[in-house]
Symmetry: C2
Subunit: 269 residues, 2 copies
């Protein structure tokens, strides 16, 4: 298997995003190796040795996706013997010409601590404090309130919205303590109806997920999953709560779909 | 202010990563607009209208970073009148030639639900269950155990490691209930000493963070922060616990540094 290296004098997150997106277009598996914080000549020399070892082992030159700010270190890595892809270099001249401003590369500009950083930490704390219906007296501070039956992805989505975008997401479970035959929202949620967003799943998928937790239980049974999902979707429609079926979506996709369907303002780009 | 658009028939996360990294090299502010899931001609037409409105408003053509799988939709957006940057297109031919395989673009390959997806959800649940020293009987399942005094970033880092990499991170607070004069680790942590990783901060920063929570308290006082940090760093050294000072780092940078300093295996790329 051929090796792909992601190398940078910063976190290498941008090199990874770039390389992964590019390689994911090919029906081929790669061995991935990320080498962040390569910020000295000694470290760059060590990278060279790793690249050469992979070359020998694979019998093919590794692909190297890199985003260096330091030009000397970049040249060292470029000259190591792999196939080098530098997407910043490829586009920076064109952007400079277009906007009429010269580039001033600095490390930590992309993934460093910016003026919006505290928003994210506040949003994470908010998501934790308001996970799983723990509190109903802070919902006025929420940017969005995710609702859904147990195990439909509310918690990971809330945390992702907080970490990635600085959005304060509370979540509230429609649980099996509720009377599903006469399902209604608590009055605290009705007061914030404009912030509600529902998650749902295909019954088969919910059955699988719940079975991992409580194999053979009534809670995990196909019949119970079908029943709860049917009733909760009826509730969403009755209360005009927008919702998505997240069966085939990752947390990134769910979050992006929520942003696309609402007017939520990101606190971070 | 000039507008930058991030447009895709998928989540647009890749277009954002690419565009943000590129624009962050310039000392210029942009108005950012992300338009994900542009998967029909009607939606592409609406994108065109938005691009043209921004052009009129700004008096300058917007920059458009896009990653389309659908060629027809891509052409529509490219011909809208902005300045178009397509980094996949720029590199895909070179990679295809290098590896001798043709590209087969599909949506949802980069940010979809992959075989490693359940690892991430399991890791998030683990991080929540084992946050803040809640449980000491599941530490054998941890990939890493973050330790530190209150408010040094253990929880956001644990959640980020889980969401981003599928790594199971527990965290344990060295709290003001502990006897800081005779600081020691509980025996459950000593048994897992090889998994411990410490976080620390500059006293001034910790003082600021704690003051936001409990203004004027003993807990937030500069003296207390200095004392706790000095003692906990002494403990790290005594117990040979690797640690980093995260004062100037974002959660992405802290996580990348931890991965670089340990042999933690990511469960996701």
């Amino acid at each position: 298997m051929r090796t792909a290296f992601y190398v940078s004098d910063g976190t290498a997150l941008t090199a990874e995003a770039f390389g992964h997106a590019l390689l994911s277009m090919f029906p081929v598996e790669f061995q991935h190796t990320t080498l962040p914080f390569i910020d000295s000549e000694a470290k760059a020399d060590k990278v060279c040795r790793q690249i050469n070892q992979a070359f020998e082992k694979d019998g093919e030159p590794p692909l190297i996706f890199h985003t260096f700010v330091n030009e000397t270190l970049k040249q060292k890595v470029v000259n190591c013997g792999g196939i080098s892809y530098d997407f910043l270099d490829q586009f920076v001249g064109s952007v400079a010409q277009q906007i009429g401003v010269q580039a001033e590369p600095k490390t930590h500009r992309t993934h460093g601590v910016h003026k919006n950083y505290n928003f994210r930490v506040d949003a994470i704390n908010y998501a934790l404090d308001n996970d799983d219906g723990k509190k109903l007296n802070q919902l006025d501070q929420a940017d969005i309130i995710l609702v859904g039956v147990s195990r439909t992805g509310k918690t990971p989505t809330s945390l992702y919205l907080a970490l990635q975008y600085g959005i304060k997401a509370a979540n509230y479970p429609i649980t099996d303590d509720d009377d599903f035959e006469h399902l209604d929202l608590p009055k605290e949620l009705k007061l914030q109806r404009h912030k509600l967003f529902g998650l749902t799943l295909d019954p088969q998928r919910l059955h699988e997920i719940r079975s991992q937790r409580r194999q053979g239980s009534q809670y995990a049974s196909m019949q119970q999953c079908q029943f709860e999902l049917r009733e909760v979707e009826k509730l969403y429609r009755k209360e005009a709560v927008p919702f998505i079926n997240s069966t085939h979506f990752s947390v990134e996709e769910i979050a992006a779909k929520i942003l696309a369907k609402t007017n939520l303002q990101r606190r971070r780009y």
